[in-house]
């Protein structure tokens, strides 16, 4: 029964993703259309998708008995859902059609990225068994969802404000962001292809920092491996036999997770390759392709949305990411603040947005400067959400 709920909830999530994808069409068409009909269709689809996602959330919560915010898959999915929520609020307040064309892909990209992690339902470890789990994470993701709107507004602002073929740092940075998005897409596509479609798997036996034997599952050919790694074949149970897998011979000490680094390296190599091909086909920068769309944006409105979403999201982040977090840390770990890497990066995010607000209010950082800051803020959020959990060992590494 409960297992069925889980599979139904996953299906709903998938359906929502497809809906958003389709909704992009009427939304794009509505930009040039005078009537409201197309945008109404698109928004109805987005609302339906949002409701499906909320149902996913509730069903999964019922099935596993705790809020589905306890591992990377659930957390990133929640973030993606909140971005849709943030978008809907922004739409109904500011009535901007164009905004969704950029907000929806951000959310879909995150959804796809989140599904790269283990989607299994897992029981909670003792430290996570608390009502604060739901309270803390839901508030934080809500804040993230709203703060992301400022980055979307910032992106649209910059796409319009920065001349696409300009030989300047700002144009190159903006284009670099596009290349980054291509890389993420390529990463998702390769992972799905190699892991789920082809089923490529090379196992390597290595010794971790504590000298324990571990098995690393490589779903991409090994360019970088652990020091002294031995290629092995899984023979069932706990038995492994030595085998012959492709291996470049480059080895790194166990301090660095070579398996993840290998994936990152492949993503960069393939991402840059794909980006290069795109450039060859287009014969211009990606930002130049997006330009006609962003040119319809009202810069003042984008600036306003960028500022408003920070001003609304920041107090929620302070509440959920600092205050609720501290209360729970005091209960679970006996100290409300311990400079754990995740806590520190929440603090850094908090401080960054205080800088944003002070510069904006007191030093006139409006328009383009504000847009850049909003994008940096979003990158900080992503860094704290993904890199800190995966790269740095701390109390929050739950994936």
């Amino acid at each position: 029964m409960a297992s069925q709920l889980v599979s139904i909830s996953s299906t709903l999530l998938y359906a929502a993703f497809i809906l958003y994808l389709i909704a992009m069409l009427p939304l794009a068409a509505s930009i040039k259309s005078k009537s409201d009909k197309l945008v109404k269709i698109a928004i109805t689809m987005v609302i339906t998708g949002f409701v499906l996602q909320l149902t996913y959330f509730i069903l999964r919560w019922i099935a596993q008995g705790h809020a589905p915010v306890s591992n990377m898959y659930e957390f990133i999915t929640m973030f993606a859902i909140m971005i849709i929520g943030g978008y809907l609020i922004t739409y109904f307040y500011f009535r901007t059609k164009l905004f969704g064309l950029f907000a929806l892909p951000v959310s879909m990209l995150l959804m796809a990225y989140g599904s790269m992690f283990s989607r299994e339902v897992e029981p909670l470890i003792p430290a996570l068994q608390s009502n604060w789990l739901a309270i803390h994470v839901i508030t934080v993701t809500l804040a993230y969802g709203i703060l992301s709107m400022s980055a979307v507004a910032g992106l649209i602002y910059l796409l319009k404000a920065v001349p696409a073929d300009e030989k300047s740092w700002r144009a190159r940075f903006l284009e670099a962001i596009m290349a980054g998005i291509v890389t993420v897409l390529v990463f998702i596509a390769t992972t799905v292809l190699m892991q789920n479609v082809i089923g490529y798997q090379d196992d390597f036996l290595y010794q971790d920092k504590q000298g324990q034997n571990q098995i690393a599952e490589y779903h991409l050919p090994s360019l970088i491996n652990f020091e002294g790694a031995v290629p092995v074949e899984h023979m069932g149970e706990n038995n492994y036999e030595e085998a012959n897998h492709f291996h470049s011979g480059i080895e790194l000490p166990p301090l660095i997770d070579s398996q993840k680094l290998n994936t990152v390296l492949w993503s960069f190599l393939l991402g840059l390759m794909v980006y290069g091909i795109i450039r060859l086909i287009l014969r211009k920068r990606i930002i130049a392709v997006l330009k006609p769309w962003s040119n319809r944006a009202d810069l003042n409105l984008m600036d306003e949305i960028g500022y408003r979403s920070v001003i609304i999201g920041f107090p929620i982040f302070a509440l959920g990411g600092i205050f609720f977090a501290s209360i729970w840390a005091q209960i679970a770990w006996s100290r409300f603040w311990g400079w754990d890497p995740k806590e520190t990066w929440a603090f850094i995010t908090f401080m960054f947005y205080t800088i944003f607000l002070h510069l904006r209010l007191n030093r006139g950082y409006e328009g383009e400067k504000s847009a850049w800051l909003a994008i940096i803020g979003f990158l900080l959020i992503l860094f704290n959400l993904i890199a800190i959990n995966l790269l740095v060992a701390g109390l929050h590494s739950y994936a």
Partner: protein, 543 residues
């Protein structure tokens, strides 16, 4: 140059030196302000801000330094960057206890690690310079709040209704239109939108959400309290953070309570998830290692009734029983006991058996309690074992034949056993993995059967008097932040002598205000307000 009070040319109001907009009629007094720095003169309502007015004495200079937003933001940035660097390698309290930190960082992270260590980043958040940065931040917050907050408060609480024409024209939202026969319906419409109305002749001031302007000052006060609270930790007695190592069955004094309270570890439990915990988890649970579902110490909490008499044995009175679990600490008074970790590395007892040369077990097994070992064990009717020597942490055999122990903790026990069979006896040295005959041609071997470990629960004893300050500080901060963020201060000035002049100002969200105003204006038959920002853009586009 002597700082003089300024008399407004237009209305004659006497303004303090440094005022930029006349505090009565709003006419610009000092058009010489730095437009790059002060984008919106209305931010402090054009009042005289000390740091922008006086710059003569040393105190003025210091004041300007700390009130400067540039300096404040730089301090915040410095703290932020330092905090980020502090996460590159683990902090000192995360590295193994007892190792030399210098060597540890060098060994694990190479030259960069050593550099990190020698520059103090390994203990960043309690380093003196991190604390100095926080102190500077506190000074900056206090100075900036006084510098801007007080003039703003004065100017907002003494607003005059009548404004100069130039004041109207300078506002972002402005409308100059033909005066209607009756302005009162317009005013009423705004007052239905919860604007407070003040009138002076033909002039009106409509205002709501003034509290919003004080939000930043409220949140900064909260931060000061928070920073003050976190400094309190360095005073003795404000903060206790101790470890209580408690073996199962043991009763120990709770540290720092002067022998007043004791706690007994009745039982330590580790539960793991099993298949019955729900079929949904089946897949997760079928993969390899057990997943822990619960760490729990069942404790008995005692009060000692004989603390007055020095040296007397404690007279314990049971007060409470509790199961301490992760997320469920036990509290008494201002103290809290937390489940921190556990230790089962210490051996409690070892069991052996006697075997003859052909490998048959003789008689019963015997068990040695390592905390308090006995020396005689009767294995069967004729055979007994005598423990001649014991070393809890075996190092070597001394010249005189005794066993030398490295530490008193039983981590690597070794024994010399004498097996006595009637008149005959033979000796053997037994280590956990290894046994050596001492006498030649032994008939009997003693074999290791099994060991039992002590289970000790590690509890954290915590008392923190700084929490109320820090929590209150943060709550005030959050309230201030919400007031500043979610309330908008909106003001509308209307002057109905001659034409109808209409101007509006808000501290943020012009989009929302414009919508509100235009709705009222249009339903009263007026045209929509002009937005200077849009006009500027149109001008730009024309170029």
């Amino acid at each position: 140059m002597e700082l003089k009070e300024i008399k407004c040319e237009s209305c004659g109001h006497i303004n303090p030196p440094g005022t930029q907009l006349c505090q009565s009629c709003g006419k610009m007094i000092d058009s010489d302000y730095d437009q790059n720095k002060i984008k919106d003169l209305m931010r402090y309502d054009g009042s005289a801000v000390r740091s922008k007015t006086r710059s003569k004495s040393i105190f003025d200079r210091i004041w300007i330094f700390f009130t400067s937003v540039k300096v404040g933001v730089s301090i915040i940035l410095a703290i932020t960057v330092a905090a980020a660097i502090g996460t590159i390698f683990p902090q000192e309290y995360y590295i193994p206890i007892g190792v030399d930190p210098g060597e540890h960082y060098q060994e694990n992270y190479g030259t960069l690690g050593y550099l990190y260590y020698s520059m103090g980043f390994h203990n960043l958040y309690s380093s003196w310079w991190f604390l100095v940065l926080n102190g500077l931040l506190a000074l900056s917050i206090i100075a900036a709040s006084i510098d801007r907050g007080i003039p703003l408060f004065k100017s907002l609480s003494r607003q005059h209704v009548k404004k100069h024409g130039s004041f109207f024209r300078r506002q972002r939202l402005f409308l100059n239109t033909e005066r209607p026969a009756d302005t009162s319906s317009l005013i009423d419409a705004f007052s239905r939108k919860r604007y407070k109305v003040r009138q002076d002749g033909d002039s009106y001031l409509l205002e709501k959400g003034r509290l919003s302007r004080y939000g930043p000052y409220i949140n900064h006060m909260g931060l000061i309290l928070l920073l003050f609270g976190s400094m309190l930790r360095f005073f003795p007695g404000m903060y206790v953070d101790e470890i209580l190592y408690l073996k199962e069955g043991e009763t120990e004094e709770i540290p720092t309570t002067q022998g007043q309270y004791y706690v007994k570890n009745e039982r330590f439990v580790i539960d793991t998830y099993d298949k019955e915990d729900g079929e949904v988890f089946q897949q997760a649970l079928s993969e390899g290692s057990d997943l822990v579902s619960n760490f729990q110490t069942d404790i008995v909490f005692y009060k000692n009734n004989s603390t007055d008499i020095a040296g007397s044995s404690p007279d314990l009175e049971e007060i409470d029983e509790y199961s301490i679990r992760v997320n469920h600490p036990f509290s008494f008074g201002s103290y809290e006991l937390y489940q921190s970790s556990y230790d089962n590395s210490q051996l409690k007892a070892m069991t052996f058996r006697v075997e003859d040369s052909s490998g048959n077990t003789i008689g019963d097994n015997f068990t040695i309690n390592l905390d308090n070992p006995e020396s005689q064990f009767a294995v069967s009717e004729d055979i007994s074992v005598n423990m001649r020597a014991y070393s809890p942490d075996f190092l070597e055999v001394a010249d005189n034949g005794t066993l030398v122990s490295a530490t008193p903790v039983p981590t690597n026990p070794a024994f010399v056993f004498e097996v006595i069979n009637g008149q005959e006896s033979e000796l053997s040295l037994l280590q956990i993995m290894n046994s050596t005959d001492i006498t030649a041609n032994n008939e009997y071997n003693i074999r290791f059967v099994g060991a039992e470990e002590h289970v000790a629960s590690v509890l954290t004893v915590k008392k923190d008097y700084t929490i109320p300050f820090i929590a209150t500080g943060f709550v005030i901060f959050l309230i201030g932040l919400s007031v500043g963020s979610y309330i908008n201060h909106r003001r509308i000035w209307i002057r109905a002598d001659g034409d109808l002049m209409f101007a509006a100002h808000t501290n943020k969200n012009y989009f929302g205000m414009k919508r509100e105003i235009n709705e009222v204006l249009e339903s009263n038959g007026f045209e929509a307000v002009n937005d200077k920002l849009d006009e500027e853009d149109n001008d730009k586009n024309k170029e």
